[in-house]
């Protein structure tokens, strides 16, 4: 009796979620695939099927490919900085530190904050003449930097904002990975008289690697989505120096209202991201990450 009611309940519980995802997420995605083969004009004309024209145009659209290259550079820069800083600070926090829980909670504050508010905070901090960033540099005799209106500094500013908001995530996940390593693993090394640095390099880091790679993957997925900080801080400028793919898609889709082309671009972007992740996940499985 329990068996029969169980087997119906089994479906009553899981079908709503799957149906909801199919209707609300998968259907719009398929629709956007159709959209990428069409031209959409606001008003009466509506959708018009144009075959592969959007993709043909996209292949020759250097603005898109430049934006994509910039996005890759941005994601790579973030991941490298957050990885190095995260590992370094986690290694420090791993020791017997007084006030560890205070450090931990304070480090968490940036993560959940509204990116819009965060972007405004940094817009004020990096203000050329009134911001504390240039004031701080001047204490060391460094000339003020055009943080938001020079092309390289503007790009660096965006990286700094994300490093500020999301390095804490790397610090705390890597710290958790370090602390999960069973104590016995260290004992043999200590008996052998290995130096702390060597122990860290040969034992701590390799054992934590699978988790570190998994959270790096999560971070990478989110890093590709960057939009809000660009919108507030640089608007893609100066010139196009901070125009990343999502921002370009927004401009084409919702400023020029070329939604068909916008859909085509999001599909190409998605396709490229999935290729990158497939390689990444494959290497992740090889080292035993991703559970």
């Amino acid at each position: 009796m329990t068996d029969r009611s169980d087997s119906t309940m089994k479906y009553i519980f899981i079908v709503p979620v799957l149906a909801y995802i199919l209707v609300i997420a998968i259907f719009p995605l398929l629709f956007s695939l159709f959209l990428s083969l069409s031209r959409w004009t606001p008003g009466a004309r509506g959708l018009e099927f144009i075959g592969l024209d959007n993709f043909r145009a996209l292949a020759g659209d250097s603005r898109f490919w430049e934006a994509f290259r910039r996005t890759l550079g941005y994601v790579l820069a973030l991941i490298v900085f957050q990885w190095i800083l995260g590992t370094f600070i986690a290694a420090l926090l791993q020791k017997n530190i007084k006030g560890k829980s205070i450090f931990r909670v304070c480090y968490m504050f940036p993560m959940l904050l509204s990116p819009i508010a965060v972007a405004y905070a940094f817009k004020m901090i990096f203000d050329f003449s009134r911001g504390p960033a240039n004031h701080f540099l001047r204490l060391f005799g460094v000339a003020p930097v055009e943080w938001l209106s020079g092309s390289t500094p503007a790009f660096i500013t965006l990286v700094i904002v994300d490093v500020w908001q999301w390095t804490p995530f790397m610090i705390l996940t890597i710290l958790a990975a370090f602390e999960n390593i069973p104590q016995q693993m260290y004992e043999a090394a200590v008996v052998d008289g290995a130096k702390p640095f060597r122990i860290f390099w040969r034992i701590t880091l390799p054992l934590a690697l699978p988790i570190v790679m998994t959270v790096t993957l999560l971070r990478t997925i989110d890093a590709f989505k960057v939009f809000d900080t660009i919108y507030i801080l640089t608007g893609g400028g100066p010139g196009r120096s901070t125009e990343l793919v999502n921002f370009y898609i927004y401009l084409v889709g919702f400023r020029a209202f070329n939604l068909g082309y916008g859909a085509a671009m999001s599909w190409v972007q998605l396709f490229l991201i999935i290729i990158i992740f497939t390689y990444y996940i494959r290497s992740l499985k090889r080292i035993g990450g991703l559970r």
Binding site: F109, L112, S114, M124, P132
Partner: protein, 299 residues
Amino acid sequence: MASNHHKIRKTGRNIVTYSFLIVWLIFALFPIYWVAIMSIKDVGSVYGTLPTYIPYIDFQPCFRAWARVIGGASVDGVRVVSPVLGRGARYLINSILVAGGSSVITVALGTLAGYALTRFKYRRISNDGIAFFILSQRIFPPVALAVPFFILFAWAGMVDELPSLIIVYSIMNMPIVTWIVKEFFNDIPKEIEEAAMVDGSSRWNTLLKIFIPLAIPGVAVAFLFSFVFAWNEFLLALVLTFENNTLPVTMSGMWNVRGPRYWDIAANAMVIMLPPLVVTILANKYIIKGLSLGAVDGG
């Protein structure tokens, strides 16, 4: 002698460790502090020659921006209100409705899925397969969903209406909510439920009497996360609404209104940062577990 030498080296290492940790602490907290003090500055202290850092020491605080945030202030007989309370607090109410409404849907469906994935066995598609399918929704950049949603909602006459945002956010948060709930439910021992069922309690009864009371903390954490992410979301609200905005969209238009009024922007930014800060303090034990989708415990 040798041990003394060792001690000095150890103290030295500790000083280095603490200084790095404190440098990061200052880096992590400074932007929040900067917004906080900016919100109590006025024209004079913002547009001075050098930035000022400490209220009452190097500038006199002025609470006019907060007066506008809280109740509106009169300037030359005209009542001026900040975006947070603009148009009869409509944007604030919208933000709360959208974040709350979407979280109710997401958490309800996510809880069912979390229970199903930890308590039943699916043979045709494995449990892992279903879980991965739900999680994989996370890979889509919001802009990829914004394009088709805009047209579909335009056809349905739902652009600039709150239900459209509620629907979109509920799907946006589904992966993380399902994952958090599933992680929590995994930690609830199944033996108690099994024992109750062996004693003749039906599954429904077991669910109501035994499981749900144990599950409440996990569900609450998932709700808080979902609420904060919907509260913070910007891109989809930007393209799917015109006048019926949420707070982030309203705020995004503040920069160029009559030159940057830093103090007003800062006061509004403080309001928008308040719920996330409260959630961080309340649920800090679960943030790492939640954001890493259960990959680490990090308590």
